[in-house]
Amino acid sequence: MASAAAPASLGRELSDPPSDGISNLRFSNHSDLLLVSSWDKSVRLYDASANVLRAEFMHGGPVLDCCFHDDSSGFSAAADNTVRRLLFASNKDDILGKHDAPVRCVEYSYAAGQLITGSWDKTLKCWDPRGASGQERTLVGTYPQPERVYSISLVGHRLVVATAGRHVNIYDLRNMSQPEQRRESSLKYQTRCVRCYPNGTGYALSSVEGRVAMEFFDLSEASQAKKYAFKCHRKSEAGRDIVYPVNAIAFHPVYGTFATGGCDGYVNVWDGNNKKRLYQYSKYPTSIAALSFSRDGRLLAVASSYTFEEGLKPHEKDAIYIRGVNEIEVKPKPKVLPPA
């Protein structure tokens, strides 16, 4: 796993990384293919286990998000306002549609068979990717949001949308005419990332203030009493905390525990049920921009890529590390029970 340059403790560095910041990366649901979107206007497809670049797509502007459809195609969201479909085998892409402003997030819903994109033009759009390209054919609906969309996440039929101004909208994909729930974030500062729990009961929301809130969909008192928030990705220095934004959250597909990555360069793994931190990986050279577990949870892709939280400054080069995941790092620890 050790590469010549990086210490083995960080994982294997992916060769041929993008030449500029990494906005997001995702493992496929079917294999160890990794899709990476970057500020260098490219989307790259890697075979993470073989450490080989398989395909590359250039867009008209920085690419802010990407996702898989299946192992033969994917989608991307770019700052040139386009939503594109990517065909891996032919290395070709076509424009599925456009927003009025940079498209920030893209997610494919297997449950609904639709592609969902969120943009800084304050709308969410749903697309049917089976149609021929051209907005008239593919656009299913446009849903206004209170503010610019920053992050979205899907589980089953639920969609969670986090926008600027700390708004959170929860939709049922079967009825998009209005949000199922409208909430404000439990945290006090700007939302960075939202991810639904794999078991579909709620979502985790992270902000720039070094906190993660664990929320639940069920509005009953009993469920709402379970919600909590915890501090993370902070460094104590000279009596006060340096508070880092938490950029990325990724749930382990098997254990339901989750990893968070922050601008402090650390990746922590948490057990949400027991409210414990399970592990902290060695510090990465720069901010963690994105995290993704492989479908079996054996690999974790870490994008160590400066995210501009301090403006333009000299920074470490952007890199992607693929690390093997050990059970002890991600498995919830059994509770110590009294003898019966």
């Binding site: 500020w39 402003a101 610019r148 700390r166 709402q224 909590y228 409210k275 414990k276 400054k313």
Partner: protein
């Protein structure tokens, strides 16, 4: 009859046959009692919440949180010895053999300093009934938890709308900067723009902190306000903006929602800027800040800082000597005026800023002529909202 041997009841007696008490199966009554306690022990944490030994995630996984969610600083509620939901207490109060097992202690571990009290670090259920409490909350937040990222929104009560709006994500800032660079704007201008955005956001935070906090939901308390005489009584959202009807600043309709991210950024930053721009119909001074297409605007950038700030932030910004464009370049990036943000965030100047801005405000608010101008030159824009008298 001799008494029953207690040790034998518990499982073993060291005297064995020699024991002077009776080693016998306990009688009916005692049997009953033992059985009950055994049951409760066996289940560990009881029949009430159905917890079983091997489960991790079912039945009340957040029982620990159920109490603590509503009680701030209460890490391990005493009434909840098993660390679980509130329902199982009655079951075990009467059991005689509680000492047989340890209560489950959920030590909420964290890396770093002792943070045991972090169970619910945000003041839960904060209701904006007392402005002093709100203000204290805000002051505490700013002192303890200033995020590294400055262009953020802020709401002092969780689950409630923002007090300071108009946040920018770093992706938006980066996208805008790339756009400008692509269009040929030089680095210095880009830096200055970003610096302005930061300064004005800092000003907003300072404002929120320094003024007695006005509840967005309770207009009657406006009378408590200081001389800044904010006419706002709008619920939600625009507290920090002193948004009343004459200043219909909403992020939605600021500027056209046009193609480039730049105008979005400009629009949202307009909202974030002090509403002082509203009287000027189409905000000409502000638009020059971001200048569609990046014109020179250098003069006005210095002014906001000389106005009320300690001036420290702007003085430490030194335009970099290099002028290389940063996007798509290799890893060697030119240093940027933002550097001073890295280790000691600009927030650190706030204590000084606060006092000076307070006195500044007094000066400015009495100078009403500024409000009567038709058009402002860059740098003249007052930081605060206009007083009631000039509001039409």
């Amino acid at each position: 009859m001799r008494d029953l041997c207690r040790n034998f009841q518990r499982g073993s007696c060291q005297y064995g046959d020699r024991c002077k008490f009776m080693h016998a199966v306990p009688q009916q009554q005692q049997q009953q009692r033992n059985l009950n306690s055994n049951n409760s022990n066996f289940h560990g944490f009881g029949v009430q919440n159905g917890f079983h030994q091997q489960q991790q995630q079912n039945a009340n996984p957040f029982g620990f949180g159920s109490k603590s969610a509503s009680q701030p600083q209460q890490q391990q509620p005493k009434t909840n010895p098993f660390g679980f939901g509130v329902h199982n207490n009655s079951q075990f109060k009467g059991t005689p053999q509680q000492n047989q097992f340890k209560p489950f202690e959920n030590k909420w571990t964290r890396g770093g300093a002792t943070r045991q009290s972090d169970n619910n670090p945000i003041s839960s259920n904060h209701e904006c009934t007392d402005p002093e409490v709100c203000k204290r909350q805000i002051a505490e937040d700013f002192k303890q938890e200033k995020p590294l990222w400055i262009l953020t929104c802020y709401g002092h009560a969780k689950g409630a709308p923002c007090d300071i709006v108009g946040d920018i994500s770093y992706e938006e800032l980066r996208a805008e900067a790339y756009e400008h660079a692509k269009r040929g704007m030089n680095l210095q201008s880009i830096i200055e723009k970003e610096r302005n955005a930061l300064n004005s956001k800092l000003a907003e935070f300072q404002k929120l902190l320094s003024e007695p906090y006005r509840m967005p939901f309770n207009p009657s308390l406006n009378s408590q306000n200081n001389q800044n005489a904010n006419p706002f009584s709008m619920p939600i959202q625009n507290t920090g903006q002193h948004n009343a009807n004459p200043f219909p600043i909403t992020t939605q309709n600021n500027g056209p929602v046009s193609v480039s991210s730049f105008s979005q950024l400009g629009a949202s930053l307009n909202a974030g800027f002090d509403r002082s721009t509203a009287p000027a119909a189409n905000t000409p001074p502000l638009s020059s800040f971001f200048g569609s297409g990046g014109n020179t605007f250098a003069p006005n950038t210095a002014n906001p800082s000389t106005r009320g700030f300690s001036g420290a932030p702007s003085s430490t910004f030194s335009p970099p000597a290099q002028s290389t464009m940063f996007p798509n370049s290799t890893s060697q990036q030119p240093s940027f005026g933002f550097n001073n943000l890295s280790s000691t965030p600009m927030f650190q100047t706030t204590p000084d800023v606060q006092s000076s801005s307070m006195s500044q405000e007094e000066n400015v608010s009495t100078d009403l002529s500024i409000w009567l101008k038709e058009k402002w030159n860059p740098g003249e824009i007052p930081e605060e909202a206009p007083p009631d008298s000039v509001v039409r």
